[in-house]
Amino acid sequence: MIIGEISAVWEHADLTERTIEHLWMFSVALVIAVILGVTIGIVLYRHRSWAEPALNGLNALETFPDMALLILLIPIAGIGEVPTIIACIIYSLLPITRNTYTGLVSIRQEIVDTGTALGLTEREIVRKIRIPIALPMIAGGIRIAIVFTMGIVTLGGIIGAGGLGAPLQTGIMLIIPPLIITTGLWVGILAVILDGCAGIVEKRLTVRYGEW
C-alpha cells in the first residue's frame, strides 16, 4: 500500500524527470567547480603570496547564507538553472581550492629533494610528485563540494531551476505530506549515496597515495 502511494506520487510529480534535471545541474556544477578549484589551487601554489588573500576571500564568501547568494545572483544571472549552477560553483571553490593548495604545499621536503636529485624539473615535480601525493586531500575537498552542491541544487527549486527542490516547494506550499516525504527522503538517499561513493574514492586514494 505504501509502495503504491509512493509510486502514485512519483508518477504524478514526474520525479524521474526531476531527478535527471537535478543530477544534470549537479554534474555540470561539480565538473566546473573541480576544474576551476584545482586550477586556482595550482596557481596559488605557484604564487604563494596570493594564497592568503584569495583563501580569505573565499572563506568570507562561504559565510554568506546560500539562499542570500542565490538572491544576489538573480539581478545578474536571472532565475533558473544558471544562477543555481553559479552559486554551487562559488560555494564549492573554497573546499577544492584550499585542499588542492594545502595538499601541494604540505609535502615532505625529502620527497621533493629526491625528485630534484633524480633530475626532475620543477614542473615535473609538480606533475609527478606533488599532485599525486595531494590527490587524497583534493578528493576530500571534492567530497565536501559534493555535499554543498547537492544542497544548493535542491535550493535551486525555489528560484525556478527545477530539479528535486521544485516538488519539495510545491509540497510545502500546497501542504501535500506524501509529496514532501517521498521527495525529501529521495533527495536524502541520493545525497547520502553520492557522499558515500565520494568517501570510498577518498579512502582508496589515501590507501594508494597517502603513505609517503
Binding site: 559565510t63 547564507p65 539562499m67 542570500a68 538573480i74 539581478p75 535542491t154 510545502i172 533527495v187 545525497a191
Partner: protein, 211 residues
C-alpha cells in the same frame, strides 16, 4: 520600496532564530559529545548518524519537518538544530577525545573521578575545537534560518520569499543583504570570543602551574 522598520523587525527575528536554535543545539550537542566518550558503540552511532544527516540537503530537512511536526517557529528551530548539531557534536567530540592519554593517566593517578577528568582535563583541552564548531554552527544557523521562512518561522527569509513571489528584486535584497551582514558579524564576533576564551584559558593554566 521596503519600509525600514519591516527590515529591522525581520532582522531582529532572524537574530532570535539564530541564537535560540544555537542555544538548543549547544544544549543538545555538548551532552551528546560527552556521552560519546563513554562507550564505543554510542560513539559510532552518534558520529555516523551526525555524518549522515550532514549529507542531506538543508531544504529536504526543512521540508520533512513539516509533515512530522508542522509549521511555525518551533518546527523551524528544530530544523535549524538538526543542521547546527553536527559541527558542535563532532568538534566537541574531537576536542574531548584527542587529549594526550598521558594526561588522562596522570589525572587518574591523582585520584580524579571520570567526571572530574572530563571537566578539568578534557574540556579545557577541547575549548578551541568546540568554539570553532559553535562558530560554524552559528553561521549555518543563519543560513538555514532564511530558508525556514518557507515554513513560517519569520525572519529575513520572509522578505526573500515575498520578493520572489512578487518578482521584486528590492524586497529580495532587503532580506538577503542584512542576512549577509549578520553572517559577517557572527563570523567576526565568534572569532574574537574564541580568541579571548582560549587565550584566557591558557593564561589560567600557566598561572596555576607551580614554578
Amino acid at each position: 520600496m521596503v519600509a525600514p522598520e519591516v527590515v529591522i523587525a525581520a532582522t531582529l527575528q532572524q537574530v532570535v532564530l539564530v541564537y535560540a536554535s544555537l542555544a538548543v543545539s549547544i544544549a543538545v550537542g555538548i551532552p551528546l559529545a560527552v556521552a560519546a566518550l563513554s562507550s564505543r558503540t554510542l560513539e559510532r552511532t552518534i558520529i555516523t548518524f551526525a555524518n549522515l544527516v550532514q549529507a542531506i540537503p538543508t531544504f529536504a530537512v526543512v521540508a520533512i519537518v513539516v509533515p512530522l511536526i508542522g509549521i511555525g517557529f518551533w518546527p523551524a528551530i528544530f530544523a535549524i538544530m538538526l543542521r547546527a548539531l553536527l559541527p558542535i557534536v563532532k568538534n566537541t567530540w574531537i576536542g574531548l577525545s584527542s587529549v594526550d592519554p598521558a594526561a588522562i593517566d596522570a589525572a587518574a593517578g591523582l585520584g580524579l573521578t571520570h567526571w572530574q577528568t572530563t571537566r578539568y582535563i578534557r574540556f579545557p583541552h577541547a575549548y578551541p575545537a568546540m568554539f570553532a564548531g559553535i562558530k560554524f554552527a552559528a553561521i549555518l544557523a543563519n543560513s538555514v534560518a532564511i530558508l525556514t521562512a518557507i515554513i513560517g518561522s519569520g525572519g529575513l527569509g520572509t522578505l526573500v520569499f515575498e520578493g520572489l513571489a512578487g518578482i521584486n528584486v528590492t524586497t529580495m535584497l532587503a532580506g538577503a543583504l542584512p542576512a549577509i551582514g549578520i553572517a559577517i558579524m557572527l563570523d567576526v564576533s565568534f572569532t574574537r570570543l574564541e580568541h579571548r576564551l582560549t587565550t584566557g584559558e591558557q593564561g589560567r593554566q600557566t598561572s596555576t602551574t607551580p614554578s
